[in-house]
Amino acid sequence: MTAIDVGRLLGELAEQRRDRAGISTTALNLVAFVEGDEQLLHTMTERLDMLAERNVSRTLLLACEECEHLVRSHSTEIGDTLVTHSEQIRLAVKDVDAAELRSIVHDLLVPNVRTVLLWGGVHVADPRFSALAELAETIVLFTSAKDGGTASLRELLRLQGTHAEHKIRDLAFLRLLPWQDMIAQFFDDPELAAELPHLARVEVVTGSAPEAFYLAGWLASRLSWDACGKYEFCNVDGGTIKVGVRQDGLPRRVHSVYLHSANSVFGASTQKDAEDLICLTVEGAKQRPRRCVPLHDVDMLSLVERAIFMPRSDVYAQTLHMVERLLEHER
């Protein structure tokens, strides 16, 4: 039995709404679970506030640390009306078991509104994950938030085939969107596109392993490669593509991607003096002028919004399959 009194919490919210006598148009329930990561808890608290400012929502922040239960709401005066933009409930759930947690969260959600679970727990094998996942339409994972290795990516792969599979969005993959777009940009030029079948080496430098594996898996899924050895893909003509994955620099950041063909090297890399810029180079037989472009929308808020509002794509499923194939050969 927990000390969490759902009736009292809902009563406090109702009280705050009545005080404001305005409009609340909640469109989203956000359930964030954070465990054993002070930094993530801090970032999550901050970002959830910002997210709520942009998307009218009720947020349940479930922290596994000791903390006071907290209920608050935020409203804005628009003309002569007060509009409630967000409601936040923070709970300490360290000693709450899975069944109880599910029941509490269920009762605190706004009914008939989309629910998103942001899972910052240690393991997805945790029964509390399954309990909360049942309540959510979308599950956001942070595979590169933990150890920086491939352990959480492997755990995610184990969710394939479960009821959660199609709900999952991984921020580590979503973070790659601008990189994918920039790599694709090289090959919008038909002359350079002719090099794609001749790629022989991929080098990725990232701060955490999941991003690197996702990038390699994405390339493989797009170019019909299959894993055929340790850090090695084969293309449909039987040619091999070596994959170089190196961990360096700040966690969760992608630092550079280089694609080598027989004739040319295509490079995209961040700049030491301007981290929000990526410079693109094509060297070798088909050289092009160096070009720098801004790196957009890789902050956590944009990523979470993308996770919530973008439908799950086949590209992600196919990428994940290639990541799985690559990791199989790693053993």
Binding site: I23, E53, R54, N55, V56, T76, I78, G79, D80, T81, V83, H85, L177, P178, Q180, D181, I183, A184, Q185, F187, D188, D189, P190, A193, A194, L196, P197, L219, R222, L223, Q271, A274, L277, L280, R288, P289, R291, C292, V293, P294, H296, M310, S313, D314, V315
Partner: protein, 518 residues
């Protein structure tokens, strides 16, 4: 690697980029060079160059992009780049340029000091475009932007053909032209301009810009109507009493007195901006989101509006001109005292019309349109007033049961509001009207991009949805021409007939007693 034969115009097979699949990106992928005619002018300085920079900053411009300025003022390439940087620093919504990005963009900018009468300067432009193709991989795709005074448009278009810069001479890529408003000053001049345009460009290569259509809320009219099921069933004469479209400004003519005195509110606002809003509110659901499907429906709305007979003009229209008055606590001069305005000017600074659309959906529903300068408040909105309830059940005798009103707010606060009636809590049965507001700024927490950014990018993408097609322009002129002719031939002796800072001339109340207060 997949290759498919693509319609490139030269029969060559074009490679399909397999890495593009599934990437949700707003970037324009086709290479392109944009040529700004009139690049030393005010529009380029305040709107166009800042828009280009922001498109670059947001990574929407294609990787292989070039910009060529073409105007009378004398600049070297370096001086023009410096000028462009100054334009961005002064007028961009994103603040001063970021140097690394700017340096990359600047190298793709050049300038030609030109006399529009001299074909040699257009030939120099052709040579420059060829150099861009070679140096920047900017391809053969060309977007010409006419940002000059309208009187020069026909000259530029003719010179493009003479210098072999027309689409017919560019089989390896596309050539498009953006024509700034006004497209003509009346029906004959619009037809004459169109005749010149047609000699060089096909209709699908012409992008007539009306920046109002690039505004987020204007685009949202279609989303409101066709992405919801609750509005469309009541969007008819059976439920709607009237539609009111207002485009009111507190500003006077500023430095545009010379232009405005030859134009007036009817030409400057009603014929283009306001009529486009009428089309978006009244159109039938298009079969698809394709540009022509939408523009077909818009044209049908205009074809359902009868042009008034001369004797009907004063019954369906009101004109006004502002006198001296007070705006925001400051005295402002009368229109006739503004710089470059004739002291006995008969030009209207306020126009209000009542139109009917003769079709099954709208027959008998008045569309009230008004636009004016130096009015009490800056506001652009569409207000749809629904019928009164058929039978009163609730409320005390003293209560007024107001009609439901849906307001689409275009500026300054972009959003949507609905007025409805609710019971006041308590023992008594009082009914009071309340308003529910949706505001773009707070609803989505994102700032709308200026219209020019959207429209320039759409023209590069070849998406003409937000641009006006010739048949609609022509029909809009046909509708307003009888009013223009009557107003021009009969001088209004009551001018000036409204004080600056008011809601407009008193006569407007006779046209529509239910104008929403400004």
């Amino acid at each position: 690697m997949t290759t498919t034969p693509a319609a490139t115009g030269n029969g060559a097979a074009q490679a399909v980029n397999p890495l593009r699949a599934g990437i949700d990106s707003t970037r324009i992928t086709e290479p392109c060079t944009i040529v700004f005619f009139g690049a030393s002018g005010d529009l380029f300085k305040r709107m166009l160059m800042p828009a280009i920079y922001n498109l670059r900053l947001n990574d929407i411009l294609p990787a292989n992009f070039g910009l060529i300025g073409f105007a009378r003022s004398a600049y070297t390439d370096d001086e023009f780049r410096e000028y462009c940087k100054k334009c961005v620093n002064e007028f961009s919504r994103s603040g001063p340029v970021k140097d690394t990005l700017w340096n990359d963009l600047a190298q793709r900018i050049s300038y030609i000091t030109a006399d529009f009468d001299d074909t040699a300067h257009f030939e120099a432009l052709k040579k420059r475009l060829d150099e861009y193709e070679e140096h920047f991989g900017a391809g053969h795709n060309r977007l010409y932007y006419l940002a000059t005074p309208p009187s020069v448009f026909p000259k530029i278009i003719a010179q493009l053909k003479r210098a072999k810069l027309d689409p017919g001479q560019n089989p390896k890529g596309w050539s498009r032209i953006i024509v700034e408003k006004p497209f003509g000053t009346d029906l004959p001049s619009a037809q004459a301009l169109q005749a010149e345009v047609e000699k060089v460009f096909n209709e699908n290569q012409v992008y007539r810009i009306d920046h109002y259509l690039g505004k987020e809320t204007v685009q949202d009219i279609m989303a409101l109507r066709f992405a919801n099921t609750i509005f469309e069933p009541i969007w008819t004469r059976n439920y709607i009493q009237s539609v009111q479209i207002t485009a009111a400004e507190t500003l006077g003519v500023e430095e545009r007195g010379g232009y405005y005195d030859n134009a007036g509110a009817l030409r400057d606002m009603i014929q283009n901006h306001v009529m486009n809003l009428v089309a978006l509110v009244a159109m039938e659901p298009p079969a698809s989101a394709d540009a022509d499907a939408i523009r077909n429906e818009k044209y049908k709305v205009f074809s359902g509006i009868a042009a008034p007979a001369p004797e009907e003009v004063f019954q369906m229209s009101v004109r006004g001109q502002y006198d001296a008055g007070t705006i925001a606590g400051q005295p402002v001069p009368a229109y006739r005292s503004e710089p470059d305005v004739r002291p006995d000017s008969n030009t209207e600074t306020y126009a209000a019309l009542r139109l009917y659309i003769n079709n099954w959906r709208w027959a008998g529903v008045p569309f009230y349109l008004r636009s004016g300068k130096r009015l009490a408040r800056k506001v652009s909105e569409i207000a749809i007033t629904f019928n009164s309830i058929p039978h009163r059940l609730f409320g005390e005798k003293s209560d007024t049961i107001e009609q439901n009103v849906l307001v689409i707010k275009i500026q300054p606060d972009e959003g949507i509001s609905i007025r409805f009636n609710a019971k006041v809590p308590g023992q008594k049965n009082h009914i009071r009207s309340v308003t529910m507001d949706f505001n773009y700024g707070t609803g989505f927490g994102v700032q709308s991009a200026p219209a020019y950014e959207r429209l320039i990018a759409d023209a590069m993408r070849g998406d003409a949805t937000l641009f006006t097609r010739w048949d609609a322009v022509q029909r809009a002129w046909e509708i307003v021409m009888p009013i223009l002719e009557v107003w021009q031939s009969i001088k209004d002796r009551s001018f000036p007939n409204y004080p600056a800072g008011s809601d407009g001339p008193a006569a407007a109340a006779a046209l529509n007693p239910g104008w929403r207060p400004l």
